[in-house]
């Protein structure tokens, strides 16, 4: 699998990352190397086999759906990069 500049740009958008030109070049060659390595999986015939997404996926661990308050507002807002009153402050999101 060959990664090219367009794909790096697309993945950067999916990942919400800006990369410098140098970072893009390194990323292109690193990802190509990594994908060439992981392409080893294609040696295995896995047609029709189940997908294992989790060690114990058959166990459902439900609890009662009760409303509880965990943290008060001030404590959660204490880490806010910017706030106004009891709100997180962000740049304008709609025109």
């Amino acid at each position: 699998m060959q990664i090219n500049e367009d794909l790096i740009g697309y993945l950067g958008d999916l990942s919400r990352l800006y990369l410098s030109d140098e970072e893009k070049r390194t990323m292109e060659s690193d990802l190509t190397d990594i994908l060439n390595y992981v392409d080893k999986l294609s040696e295995l015939d896995t047609a029709g086999l189940p997908e294992m997404s989790h060690p114990f996926s058959e166990v459902n661990n439900f609890r009662e759906d009760e409303v509880v308050n965990h943290d008060d507002r001030e404590r959660l807002l204490a880490n806010a990069p910017e706030k106004r009153g009891s709100y997180f402050k962000v740049l304008k999101t709609v025109e």
Binding site: I3, L7, I8, Y10, L11, G12, L14, S15, R16, L17, Y18, L19, E23, T26, M27, D30, L31, D33, I34, L35, Y37, V38, D39, K40, L41, S42, E43, L44, T46, L49, P50, E51, M52, S53, H54, P55, F56, V59, N61, F62, R63, H70, D71, R75, L76, A78, N79, A80, P81, E82, F88, V90, L91, K92, T93
Partner: protein
């Protein structure tokens, strides 16, 4: 015996009996941190004032009959910096979180506190636990106390280095693909990656949720069993934590008078294909000797071929990066963590905060994860990796229907030089060959010392068992440690004044300064 020479349980006993005060214990370790850590860099944050105040509080409670059931009350602990600690910066060694003060503590941390633990500080690690050398930390590399020009392993490298250098009696780490076991091996320590779901992940900064587990790093398996007992248990706040009883792992510790009784008749498999090309010959020899010792004491040891092992690392990196790209999407500069100061609109806030906040390896894994999950590539990579994961699980199930446990290497090499491998991601990833299958399948594993290289560096091995078979592993490991003394050796830097001989740390500057 000096406080720092004791195991965590020995220290706990002296504190319980009143021979050692909790404050004395905390001070002994804090003094060691002050003396040595400038040259090792195991800690990101040292919570000295809090530790001393907490020590007095625990002492008072002990004197009033508190912490009745805990054998580790008053014993200091170092906590990996990806475990949330209320009121104490929890950065995961990342710039994006270097000002983050959690409003709550991880369940594992709370459980340790409920047992009277005294936290000394937060330990260095690979950024977001992504790496095997603690070199990707925003706060600079960490040195290996056995040779500070070498890495302590990773990602829980700071936790291991702190224990190895006598700057903490035990530590908590996390293991997504070997991050407890490999640093334990590189530092002559014992570490346990428990069965997935045994320890609540609530408050652990998520890297790859279906693989992450929290566990102990200490000098011996007795300490590890006691710590694991303390932090395990079902937690309503982690839907993947499992109901399993009992958690009394210490009951499995072998009888010191008759350790052989614990391993007599135990069926041990040696996966011959894990001992072939690529494995350092001294490591191979040390592990084979360990297996021979167990055999001579009554275990039934047999070689076999573990199928599909070569596919574990590719499957692991696809799955881990896919989960990471999703988990790390929460870091957007809005509610907490780093926010760029140069954005013009909200989208730019996301892009720039993340680009400025994440290091190279983290960006690489997010990009790779985005790729394998993107339309057009999902089936060929992500779906394929999940199927291979199922295949590996099937072969593990088969292996554990025949063996009580298997013995394998932890890492192909002993601790390598700082800067030695970091520039080649594929080589770095391939070094995880012996550890990642355990995470893919969810089974438990103990990493423990079994020798030293000709260069004087520790060699580790791992005992791997079926899900929920920690007891068997603890039995075998404790019996082995009764018969050997590798786990009792300490690096020269461990001694008081031992740091005088250490060179100044290179690469200690924050990576942002590069």
């Amino acid at each position: 015996m000096e406080i720092r020479e004791m195991t965590a349980l020995e220290l706990g006993q002296k504190i319980r009996s009143g021979e050692v005060k909790v404050r004395e214990a905390a001070e002994a370790y804090l003094d060691a941190v002050e003396e040595k850590d400038g040259k090792i860099n195991a800690y990101i944050t040292v919570t000295k004032e809090d530790a001393l105040a907490r020590a007095d509080e625990v002492q008072k409670s002990l004197e009033n009959g508190g912490f009745e059931k805990s054998r580790l009350a008053g014993v200091p602990v170092a906590i990996k910096d990806n475990l949330c600690t209320e009121g104490v910066i929890t950065s995961a060694a990342s710039h994006i979180l270097d000002n983050f003060i959690p409003p709550y503590s991880a369940t594992a941390v709370l459980k340790a506190e409920e047992s009277g633990a005294v936290m000394l500080g937060k330990t260095n690690m690979d950024e977001f636990a992504m790496g095997g050398s603690t070199e990707t930390s925003y706060f600079g590399a960490c040195g290996n106390p056995w040779d500070t020009s070498r890495v302590p392993g990773g990602s829980s490298g700071g936790s291991a280095a702190a224990v190895a250098a006598g700057m903490a009696p035990y530590a908590l780490g996390s293991d997504t693909g070997g991050s407890i076991r490999q640093p334990s091996a590189f530092n002559g320590l014992t570490g346990i990656k428990p069965t997935y779901g045994s320890v609540s992940r609530y408050g652990l900064l998520a890297y790859a949720s279906s693989l992450d587990q929290i566990g102990p790093i200490a000098h011996d398996v007795k300490d590890c069993a006691a710590v694991l007992e303390m932090i395990s248990g079902r937690d309503d706040r982690d839907s993947t934590s499992i109901m399993r009883m009992p958690f009394d792992f210490s009951n499995s510790i072998s009888d010191p008078e008759d350790p052989a009784a614990s391993i007599k008749g135990m069926k041990i498999g040696i996966p011959s294909n894990c001992f072939g090309e690529g494995l350092d010959l001294e490591i191979k020899e040390a592990i084979i000797n360990a297996a021979k010792l167990l055999e001579s004491e009554g275990a039934v040891v047999e070689e076999f071929k573990l199928p599909d092992i070569d596919y574990a690392v590719p499957a692991y990196y696809i799955i881990a990066c896919a989960e990471a790209s999703s988990n790390l999407s929460r870091y957007d500069g809005i509610k907490y963590g780093l926010r760029t100061n140069s954005a013009e609109d909200i989208l730019e806030t996301y892009y720039k905060s993340r680009s400025e906040g994440f290091g190279t390896e983290v960006k690489r894994r997010i990009m790779l994860g985005s790729f394998v999950l993107s339309s057009g590539y999902f089936d060929a990579y992500y779906k394929k990796a999940l199927q291979v994961r199922g295949l590996i699980k099937r072969s593990f199930d088969d292996v554990f229907s025949r063996y009580d446990m298997i013995i394998s290497p932890v890492s192909p090499t002993t601790a390598y030089k700082i800067g030695g491998q970091i520039s080649d991601p594929v080589a770095m990833y391939m070094a995880d060959i012996y550890t990642v299958s355990v995470n893919l399948t969810g089974v438990p594993s103990i990493s423990l010392p079994c020798g030293f290289s000709s260069e004087g560096l520790p060699i580790g091995m791992q005992f791997i068992g079926d899900s929920f078979a920690e007891s068997k592993l603890i039995k075998a490991a404790s019996a082995y440690q009764e018969m050997t003394d590798f786990h009792r050796r300490r690096p020269a830097s461990f001694a008081q004044g031992g740091a005088d001989e250490l060179p100044e740390m290179k690469n200690k500057e924050r990576s942002a300064a590069e």
